[in-house]
Amino acid sequence: MTLKVTDLCIARGGIPVLTGVNFTLAPGAALILRGPNGSGKTTLLRTLAGLQPPLGGRIEAPPESLVYAGHADGIKQVLSVAENLTFWARVFGRRDIDAALAAFELAPLADRAAGTLSAGQKRRLGLARLLVTGRPVWLLDEPTVSLDAHATALFAAAVRAHLAEGGSALIATHIDLGLAEAAALDVAPLRARAPAPDDFDGVFA
């Protein structure tokens, strides 16, 4: 279940953003992606998730091992919390949602329509989705946005439990999650350089 990235080059809108991305994410390990806004963290995660093709390099991961959580939670307002989770569980071929509800303290809200939840509660629901998928490698984009201190601690605990079970996580975040064991990867130095402006052919892309 190791995610291995070799010499990856990624692009946003046809323009290279990051080059020479190298890292290995072993089972039980977490890697925190750091870098200023617009440095390409989201693009990197989307590329790893298979949503966009890389410009070059290799991504090696066992099939059906990754799960991606982006800025938007994919929550349907008119469905209840339990229905939202059950849907995603079934998409990933699973049934049980109780553990996920418990991990993010959503059980009391299970029958509320997701549209009536607060932003932080919605975020918790979005994160609970990760648990019901049963996938080992989590790709998380700013998971703690709009979470309060308590919910952030819940999230850190969930990540820790996930790592203890042999899972792994790649997390783009600006705040300190208190995951002492996590390594960090700063993407700022990997920024792709623009070719010389008089490069007539190269500019065409």
């Binding site: 809108g13 410009l55 070059g56 070719p195 402006p197 007539f200 500019v203 892309a205």
Partner: protein, 243 residues
């Protein structure tokens, strides 16, 4: 992922097309002048339709090119989808408005021809209807190109639209034939000599067709150059933002 095609060709295309463009333009003009002057002034009036029939020197070539332009876009789209050849996608983009104008010319000259001949500007004849539908396909294709900002995304989406559209255009053609039998005469040109128009008209018509084909090629080359340069400019601007 990246191949020689992607880098080398836009520049080579511009160099090559710069060299041939004056010749093709000159040939197109020559063929059109010869064909139209010959056709309009030096052919006899037709037995039944009189001088009206001479509008075919515009109508037939434009109708031919209206369909051929779409076929060219289809081929270019396939090349883009398979080879990821940027010039190909931009050539398809460049050909669309030209094809749309050809369709419009064919429709307009058809209406002008139809008025004295059939006594009406427009009938829901299969051929006329098919061309109207073809025109709508052109409009949709052009609008989709215009609506999407990212060039590669637009190229991908319009290529798939062109493919699907082609299938539906053919389906529409047969549906329309089924739906209404028409007034329009059969094909004016075919391999079967019996059905051809008179030789008097035939040779100037061939000149006109050659002129339209060359004109189409010249326009598409020119517009493709423009598209390539516009695209390069957008890429440069994006790079500048990137720093």
């Amino acid at each position: 992922m990246r191949s020689l095609w992607e880098y080398a060709n836009p520049a080579r295309f511009i160099r090559l097309s710069d060299r041939v463009l004056p010749w093709i333009t000159a040939l197109a003009l020559a063929a059109l002048v010869i064909g139209l002057v010959w056709g309009l002034w030096f052919t006899p009036d037709e037995r039944r339709q009189g001088a009206t029939v001479k509008i075919m020197f515009l109508h037939v070539p434009s109708a031919l090119m209206a369909i051929n332009a779409w076929l060219m876009m289809l081929v270019a789209s396939l090349i883009w989808l398979i080879r990821r050849h940027h010039v190909s996608a931009l050539a398809a983009r460049a050909a669309a408005p030209v094809g749309a104008v050809m369709t419009l010319i064919a429709l307009a000259t058809g209406a002008i021809w139809g008025q004295p001949t059939w006594g009406t500007w427009w009938v829901w004849d299969p051929r006329l209807t098919s061309f109207l539908i073809l025109f709508l396909f052109y409009l949709g294709y052009i609008a989709l190109w215009a609506a999407i900002e990212d060039d590669d995304t637009a190229a991908d989406l319009t290529s798939v639209l062109c493919l699907v559209g082609s299938v539906f255009a053919v389906l529409s053609r047969y549906a329309v034939l089924f739906w209404n039998q028409g007034l329009h005469q059969g094909a004016s040109l075919s391999m079967d000599a019996e059905e051809n128009v008179d030789n008097v008209f035939y040779i100037p018509l061939l000149f006109c067709i050659a002129g339209f084909v060359l004109l189409f090629i010249a326009l598409v080359l020119l517009r493709t150059q423009t598209e390539i340069r516009a695209r390069r400019m957008r890429a440069l601007l994006a790079r500048e933002r990137m720093g």
